[in-house]
Subunit: 515 residues, 2 copies
C-alpha cells in the first residue's frame, strides 16, 4: 500500500468521506488511490476556490471535515479566499496539497513556491509530510486538528514521493478533541450580570446559534429581560417557523449602534464584541456604547450549549416555554419584478428544511426579512467577507444534505468570482437553485463610495463599479456549464420559475432581472 492509499484509508477511518478535487501531476497517486477505493467521494471542481468553498459548506452542515485536493502552492492560492471564509466560519476543512517530491523541491522549477508560507494565513494547522511511512499518522493528526472545536483549517502538504512510495498500515479511528466547558465561576458571574437590573444585550455567534441554543437564550430573555442579537454574518442560523427568534445586528455602524445604543452590559456567547466591518472616516469602529460593560460567557472554542444550559439552570429560566415563531407566509406578488417581489415569492415558496446560502449583498433585504416566519430553514452567510463564496458553498451544502433544497441567493458581481461552480452542480446533479440578482453593478460599492466620503461620484468613477457594459447573461452562462436556467422579468415569472425549481430536484438557475 503506497502513501496515498494508506492516507486515504486513514482519512476514511476517521470520518472524512468527501474530497473536493482539482488535482495536478503531483496529486496523481492520490487521484489513483481515490479511483481504487470507494470510501472517498471525489467531486471534481474546475477551480480550487470552488473546492474550498464547497468544503466550507459541507463542514457547516455536517460539522465534520471534507477534504480538498489542491495542486502545489498556486492551487492553494486559488483556494485561499474561500479558506479565509471557512476559517472565519470555524468550519472544519482538511487541505491535501501535493508538492514536489522531497528530493525535487530544491530546484527552482516553475511550480516551486513557499507552500507553508501561503498556507499559514489561512490555516490553523500545517504539516509537511517527510516520507511515505509517516503520511498516514500525519493524515490522522490533520483530522484531529480540523476537529478542534468548533472547526479548524488543517493543511497537509504531501510531497509527491510520500504519496507514491510504500507506506505503513492505515490508522484506525482516533479520539477527537472535545470542546471546552465554561467554568462554573463564569456561569455565576454571568448570571449575576443578568440579574443586576441593567440593560443587557446578549450577542451570539458561531456554535451558539443552534436551534437548542436559541431556545435556551429565549428562556433567559424571558427570565431576565436580556435582549438577544446575533452577529451580522453567521456561519449557520436556524430560522423560520418553530424556531426561536433572534435579531441580527445591522451591517452599517449607524444601524448597529442604534440597535444597542442603550446597552449597559453586553454578554458575548461564541463571539466577540461587535465592531464595524470596515472603518469609515468620522465613524466609530466599536458599535457598543463606550461605557458599557463587556463580558464573555463563552468563547468560540467553548461548548456554548452547555454554557447556556448551565446559565438557564442557574437563573431558573427553564420554567419558561420557548416562544416559537409561527408560520406566516407573505402573499405572492404580481406584476413588476423588484426586490420585494422576489422576497415575497422566495419566502412564500421556501420549502421546509431549505438551506439558504446568502451572497445577495444589497439585494437581500427582503428575502431575509420576509422569510423570518417562513418554513424552517438554515441561513448561511458570508463570514469572511471574501466575495465569491455563494456558488461554491452551495455545492458543499447540497453534497452534505442531498435531500434538502439548497437555495443560493447570489448577487451578479459575486457570482462571477467562482462561476465555475455551476459546472460541478450540473455534473453531480446537485439539489441547488441559484437565484441571481442581476442589478448589473457592484451596488454595495456605489453605496460605500458615498459612505466613505470619496469625493468623486463622476460617471468615470461609477463606471469602475458598473457591470452593464457589456451585460452579463447568466442564463447563457449556466447553460454553457450544463445547468438549466431561465430569466424572470416579472414577479409572476419569478414565482412560477422558483416554485418549479423547489419542486424539482437537481440544479437550476433563475436570473432575476432588476433595473
Amino acid at each position: 500500500m503506497n502513501g496515498a492509499e494508506s492516507m486515504l484509508e486513514t482519512l476514511a477511518n476517521n470520518g472524512v468521506e468527501v474530497c473536493f478535487s482539482n488535482p495536478g501531476t503531483s496529486e496523481m497517486h492520490m487521484v489513483a488511490a481515490m479511483g481504487k477505493s470507494s470510501r472517498m467521494r471525489s467531486i471534481l471542481c474546475l477551480f480550487e476556490g470552488v473546492c474550498s468553498g464547497a468544503a466550507d459548506g459541507y463542514g457547516r452542515m455536517t460539522g465534520k471535515p471534507a477534504s480538498t485536493l489542491l495542486h502545489l502552492g498556486p492551487g492553494l492560492s486559488n483556494a485561499s479566499a474561500n479558506l479565509h471564509n471557512a476559517r472565519k466560519a470555524y468550519s472544519p476543512v482538511i487541505n491535501l496539497i501535493g508538492d514536489h517530491a522531497t528530493y525535487h523541491k530544491k530546484y527552482n522549477t516553475p511550480l516551486n513556491s513557499d507552500v507553508v508560507g501561503l498556507a499559514a494565513p489561512v490555516s490553523h494547522w500545517i504539516e509537511t509530510v517527510a516520507d511515505a511511512a509517516t503520511l498516514p499518522a500525519a493524515a490522522a493528526r490533520a483530522v484531529q486538528a480540523a476537529n478542534v472545536h468548533p472547526g479548524q483549517i488543517a493543511t497537509l502538504i504531501i510531497p509527491a514521493d510520500c504519496a507514491w512510495n510504500d507506506s505503513t498500515a492505515p490508522l484506525e479511528a482516533q479520539d477527537m478533541p472535545e470542546s471546552l466547558r465554561v467554568p462554573v465561576a463564569n456561569i455565576k458571574q454571568t448570571a449575576a450580570l443578568l440579574r443586576n437590573g441593567k440593560t443587557t444585550i446578549m450577542l451570539m455567534g458561531n456554535t451558539a446559534l443552534t436551534e437548542k441554543c436559541l431556545e435556551l437564550a429565549d428562556q433567559l430573555s424571558q427570565a431576565t429581560g436580556v435582549r438577544l442579537y446575533c452577529d451580522t454574518f453567521t456561519a449557520r442560523l436556524p430560522r423560520g417557523a418553530g424556531r426561536c427568534s433572534i435579531e441580527k445586528l445591522g451591517y452599517f455602524a449607524e444601524q448597529a449602534t442604534e440597535q444597542i445604543k442603550d446597552a449597559e452590559q453586553l454578554v458575548m456567547v461564541g463571539t466577540t464584541a461587535p465592531v464595524g466591518f470596515f472603518a469609515y472616516p468620522g465613524k466609530v469602529s466599536e458599535f457598543y456604547p463606550a461605557d458599557s460593560v463587556l463580558h464573555t460567557l463563552a468563547e468560540v472554542q467553548h461548548d456554548a450549549e452547555q454554557a447556556l444550559t448551565d446559565l438557564v439552570a442557574e437563573l431558573d429560566a427553564g420554567k419558561f416555554a420557548p416562544r416559537r415563531i409561527k408560520l406566516q407566509k407573505p402573499q405572492l406578488a404580481t406584476g413588476e419584478l423588484n426586490l420585494k417581489a422576489v422576497g415575497q415569492g422566495f419566502a412564500a415558496l421556501l420549502p421546509t428544511d431549505a438551506i439558504v446560502v446568502d451572497e445577495s449583498a444589497t439585494s437581500g433585504a427582503y428575502t431575509s426579512a420576509l422569510s423570518a416566519t417562513a418554513e424552517p430553514h438554515d441561513w448561511l452567510s458570508l463570514t469572511g467577507g471574501s466575495i465569491g463564496y455563494g456558488l461554491p458553498l452551495s455545492i458543499g451544502t447540497a453534497v452534505a444534505c442531498p435531500e434538502r433544497k439548497t437555495i443560493c441567493l447570489q448577487g451578479d458581481g459575486g457570482a462571477m468570482y467562482t462561476n465555475q461552480a455551476l459546472w460541478t452542480m450540473a455534473r453531480e446533479q446537485l439539489n441547488v437553485c441559484v437565484v441571481i440578482f442581476a442589478n448589473r453593478k457592484y451596488q454595495i460599492l456605489q453605496i460605500e463610495l458615498a459612505r466613505v466620503g470619496a469625493q468623486s461620484m463622476s460617471p468615470r468613477t461609477l463606471d469602475m463599479l458598473d457591470l452593464s457594459n457589456p451585460d452579463l447573461d447568466f442564463v447563457k452562462m449556466a447553460e454553457s456549464m450544463g445547468v438549466k436556467a431561465t430569466r424572470a422579468t416579472t414577479a409572476d415569472e419569478f414565482n412560477q420559475q422558483f416554485e418549479a425549481a423547489m419542486q424539482t430536484p437537481g440544479p437550476r438557475l433563475i436570473e432575476v432581472m432588476l433595473d
Copy 2:
C-alpha cells in the same frame, strides 16, 4: 490632495499608466482618485486573478509595470496564482492592496487577515504604508522595486485611512535601477569554454530571449558550434520569419535529456541549469549529463544582451551574418478538424507581429511547430505552471499593444480557471482572438497519470480528469460575457473563422471541437 490622489500622481509621474482593478470598500478613495484623474487607465476585472494575469501580460510586452487594485487579503489571495506566474516570468507588477484603516486593523473583523503573510511568497518587495503623508514616497519606492531588472512583484499595502487622509505632494519621476553588467572575467572564461572544442549547449531564458540576443547567439553558434536551446516555458520569445532560430528544450525528461545527452558543457544565459518540471518515480530530475560542466554567463538580473555582445566581440563572431528564418507557411487543411489542421490554419493565417499567448497544453504541438517559419510574432508561455493564465494575460498584452493581434491558444480546462477575463475583453473591446481547444478532459493529467506510474487507470479514476459530463459550451459562455463566438467542427470552418478573426479588430472566441 489626499493620499490616494498623491499616490496616483506619483505612480503616473513614474510611468505607471494602467491599473487592472477589482476594488472593494477599502479601495474606494483610490477608485475615486482614478475617476478624477485621466493619468491612470482603470480596467475593471471581475476576478482578481484576471487583474494579476493582465498585469503580467502588460509587463511582458512593455517592460514596465502596470498596477493592480486589490481588496485586502482575500483579493490578494485571488490574484496570487497569476502573481506566481508573473514572478516566474520576472514581470514588473505593482500591487495596490487596500487594507483596514490603521486604527481598525486590531479588531477581529471578517476581512481581517495577514496581508503581509499572504504577499510574501509572491512578492519580491512588500511595504505597508504607515500614514497618508508617506504614501507617495512609498508608491515611488514600489515603482523602483518593480523595475529592478528584469522585473519584480512589488506589493504596496495601503490602509484605508492612508488613502483618505490629507497627504503630501506627489513625487516626480525617480531614478530607476539598472541591470548588472557581467564582469569581463566571466566573458573571457565563457569564451574559453566555447573555444575548447567540447560539445557545448547554450541555454537561454528570460531577458536573453530578445530578437537581438538571438542574433548574437546565432553568431556565436556559427563561430564556435555551440548549440542553442531555450527554456521550455519562456516569458516572451520572438519567433518566425526574419528572426534567428532557437530550439526549445522539451517538457518531458525523456525529450530533454535526449536533446542534450551529448553535452559536455552547458552555458546558461539568463536562466539556470535545466531540471524537470516535476519529479517522476525512477526518472532523473536533472536533465543534463551528470558529468557535464555547468557555467553561468549571465544570471537573470544581468544585462544579457550586453554579455552576449561582449562575448561576440571576444570571439570575433561579429563577422558572421545572423541566419534568419525564411517565411514559409503551411498549406491550409481541409476536412477533418484535428490538432494538425488547427496548427496549419493558425500558422498560415497568423498576421505579422501577432502576440501568441499559449496555454494550449497537450493541444499545442502543431501550432508551435508549424508557426516556427510563420510571420514574425512573439510567443508567451506559462512560466509558473499555474493554470489559468492565458485569458488574463491576453488582456494585458492587448492593452499594451492594441495595434497588434493577440491570439490566445487556450485549453478548455485551463480556460475555466479565469473565464471571467472574457468579460473584460468585451468591455474594453480588446484585440484578442481566443482559440479554445475543446478536448473535454484534463488530457495532460491523463498522460501524467500513466507517467507517474499510478496504477489505477480505471474509469472511476479517469472520470476525475474528465470534463465531458456535462460538456462545456464555450460559445455560449463567451456570448454570456459579450464576446462574439463561433464553433469550428471542420478544418474549413476553423480556417474561415480564424481568418475572419485576424482581419477584424476586437475580441472573438473560436471553440475548436476535438474528439
